[in-house]
């Protein structure tokens, strides 16, 4: 019964997300094509939207109960009605349909079968991880699931979740709110709540990456992209760990992909920018690293437009991006200013802490740089995001200079570079023990941007034999 109720909760939030995506992108993708991309995007956006709505409901009413769940049903019905209305007005738009598969090359079949094999292994690893540690890894129960318990069990004292007595109480609550919402549907606190959330968001991430590559470069590339995603054993190990790294990775990836599809279109599709704004903001509703990502997206855009294209910044695309960003970012600011305590960095600064000393200490630079370097080739199961493998993939498949010089690739690459640079600076100034801080988090930071690395690699490699666009 619990499983059925949790599945219902996931289904409802996914349908809400799917309907929102379908409504916004109706004139871009129609209502029949690219189902996998819309449903996987919908799962992430559905979790984001329902976590925001339940947070606002809890802040306004003091508790989230049955009336909220009824509200979600009305919302679903309303979105469905709106989509039907648009469909009636717009007619059944016909979009190019992928040709059906007839006889595939044995190599493509091998790729496809291998991808299914690794997906099956991924599911087994998830089950094993859940059986070994059903409460998830350290940060999962200590932060995300603890916050979820405050939201669900706290009653009128739910805001104790943000007490300065707690560590990391300033963390954005998307994961905590989503788990609490699942428990509300189930009617009780169950370990399967966070497990369901972790499984669906991981599946959505993998599915979205694969479907995006199908959309942009064709099936064979998508199979390779999926296989490369799973070469990160850390991705597979962390999937059942219930941490916020995979959810935030989903929103990072979704933003980059949506921006890429927007830039690849000959005619501007503003809907994609609105969605990209929403997913970028949902990243900072998931983890504080989202702020760095958002800054990186803006900086890379300005660099590409002002320096590479040598054009003035156009306000219209920015406005659409901000339109998607605004509702979520207002909620984040409401959370930060009204509820969240100061960040642990600020609250727990040791006596005698000197920012200048930290910045002028060359050994800190060396330690961080070494850790970055090791991360490139580290194959330890719970740390591996093997960027070196991406270099090998590029060596094998070749690189398309035309794609490499495209502003959209440079833009994505700049985002990654700024993210890595930003994290480097954060490590430099952290008041915590640097060795501990780096060793306990660097692999997770790389994991958050690993899907973007895979996406950018797949977008740049050169296999004209398999490329639908060449």
């Amino acid at each position: 019964m619990t499983t059925a109720l949790l599945a219902t909760a996931v289904f409802i939030s996914s349908v809400i997300g799917y309907l929102i995506v379908s409504l916004i992108t109706y004139h871009v993708w129609g209502q029949r094509e690219f189902f996998l991309m819309r449903i996987t995007l919908g799962i992430g956006i559905g979790y984001g939207v329902t976590s925001i709505l339940s947070f606002i409901w809890q802040a306004a009413m003091g508790a989230v109960g049955a009336p909220y769940l009824v509200f979600e049903l009305f919302l679903t019905a309303g979105l469905y009605w709106a989509l039907r209305k648009i469909m009636k007005q717009g007619g059944d738009l016909q979009f190019p349909v992928s040709p059906g598969t007839r006889k595939k090359s044995p190599w493509v079949l091998l790729l496809q079968a291998s991808l299914w094999g690794t997906i099956l292994l991924g599911v087994i690893i998830f089950v094993f991880g859940t059986l070994i540690a059903p409460s998830g890894m350290w940060d999962a129960w200590m932060v995300q699931n603890r916050t979820a318990r405050f939201f669900y069990l706290g009653g009128e004292y739910w805001t104790s979740a943000f007490s300065p007595l707690l560590v990391s109480a300033d963390y954005p609550p998307l994961v905590g709110m989503s788990i609490a919402r699942l428990w509300r549907y189930a009617g009780h606190e169950t370990i399967f709540g966070p497990v369901f959330f972790a499984f669906t968001i991981t599946a959505a991430l993998a599915g979205f990456l694969i479907s995006a590559i199908i959309y942009l470069r064709g099936h064979a590339f998508a199979y390779i992209a999926g296989l490369i995603l799973f070469t990160s054993s850390a991705f597979l190990v962390f999937a059942p760990a219930q941490l916020a790294d995979i959810p935030v990775a989903f929103y990072f990836l979704a933003t980059i992909v949506l921006l890429r599809i927007y830039e690849n279109n000959a005619t501007p599709q503003w809907a994609l920018l609105i969605l990209a704004g929403t997913t970028a903001a949902l990243a900072l509703w998931t983890k504080n690293e989202g702020w760095l990502f958002l800054i990186a997206v803006f900086i890379s855009h300005f660099i590409v437009v002002l320096i590479l294209k040598k054009k003035p910044v156009q306000m219209r695309p920015l406005m659409y991006f901000i339109l998607g960003l605004l509702p979520v970012i207002l909620t984040v600011l409401f959370f930060k200013f009204v509820f969240a305590p100061a960040h642990d960095f600020v609250r727990h600064q040791p006596d005698g802490f000197s920012l200048a000393d930290q910045l002028l200490n060359p050994s800190r630079y060396l330690l961080i740089a070494q850790s970055y370097l090791i991360q490139l080739y580290d194959l330890t199961p719970d740390r591996s995001t093997p960027l070196i493998a991406l270099f090998l993939v590029v060596l094998f498949f070749g690189i398309n200079p035309k794609r490499l010089n495209s502003t959209s690739f440079i833009s994505g690459f700049l985002v990654l570079l700024i993210m890595l640079g930003g994290e480097f600076v954060i490590y430099l100034i952290t008041p915590n023990d640097l060795q501990w801080q780096v060793s306990s988090s660097i692999h997770r930071l790389f994991l958050q941007i690993w899907p973007i690395f895979v996406f950018e690699t797949m977008m740049s490699i050169n296999m004209p034999q398999l490329d639908r666009n060449d």
């Binding site: 595939k104 087994i124 597979l236």
Partner: protein, 163 residues
């Protein structure tokens, strides 16, 4: 797009092309590498979760999976009825002051007593004491506190003595 190019593109997308047309040895090698490395890493990830241990757990069958957090939460649960809404509870433990171990116990206790708050001090009327059996001899409770609940032989709830 010229007709012939379009037809070729369609065949490429569907994979319905001859092997010669399809790729050269370098790309074939690349595909083999990606497949091999993906399985290699997946099996390493599988090994991380100790399959023999999982197999033992599965053989027990039908049980909800359990870990140390769940067991500890259950052990501490008997203090909950004694707490008032909005109450902050103190904490003491005999776990040696090894940062990681002590932190783990402290955060597990906080996790277990949500929605109540835990403070790592004795400046409160109620204090949760965790005195694990492995620390022998067990230390006495801090002066000025009485034990009002014993959840297990390791977890206790203490109240500040009014006098």
């Amino acid at each position: 797009m010229p007709r012939s190019v379009g037809a070729k593109a369609t065949r490429i997308v569907t994979g319905n092309i001859s092997e010669e047309e399809f790729m050269n040895w370098r790309i074939k090698l690349g595909i083999v590498f990606v497949i091999f490395f993906s399985f290699f890493q997946s099996f390493r990830a599988l090994g991380y979760y100790d399959p023999p241990d999982v197999w033992k757990r599965m053989q027990r069958g039908g049980q909800v999976p359990v870990d140390s957090i769940i067991i500890y939460k259950k052990n501490v649960s008997c203090v909950i009825p004694e707490l008032q809404p909005d109450q902050v509870v103190g904490f003491i433990t005999s776990v040696p002051n090894n940062k990681q171990q002590r932190d783990a116990i402290y955060h597990m206790t906080q996790f277990a007593i949500v929605p109540f708050l835990l403070d790592d001090s004795l400046d409160h009327d109620l204090v949760i004491a965790y005195f694990p059996n492995r620390v022998k001899p067990k230390p006495d409770f801090p002066a000025g506190f009485l034990m009002i609940r014993q959840c297990t032989d390791e977890v206790f709830l203490l109240r500040r003595n009014a006098q």
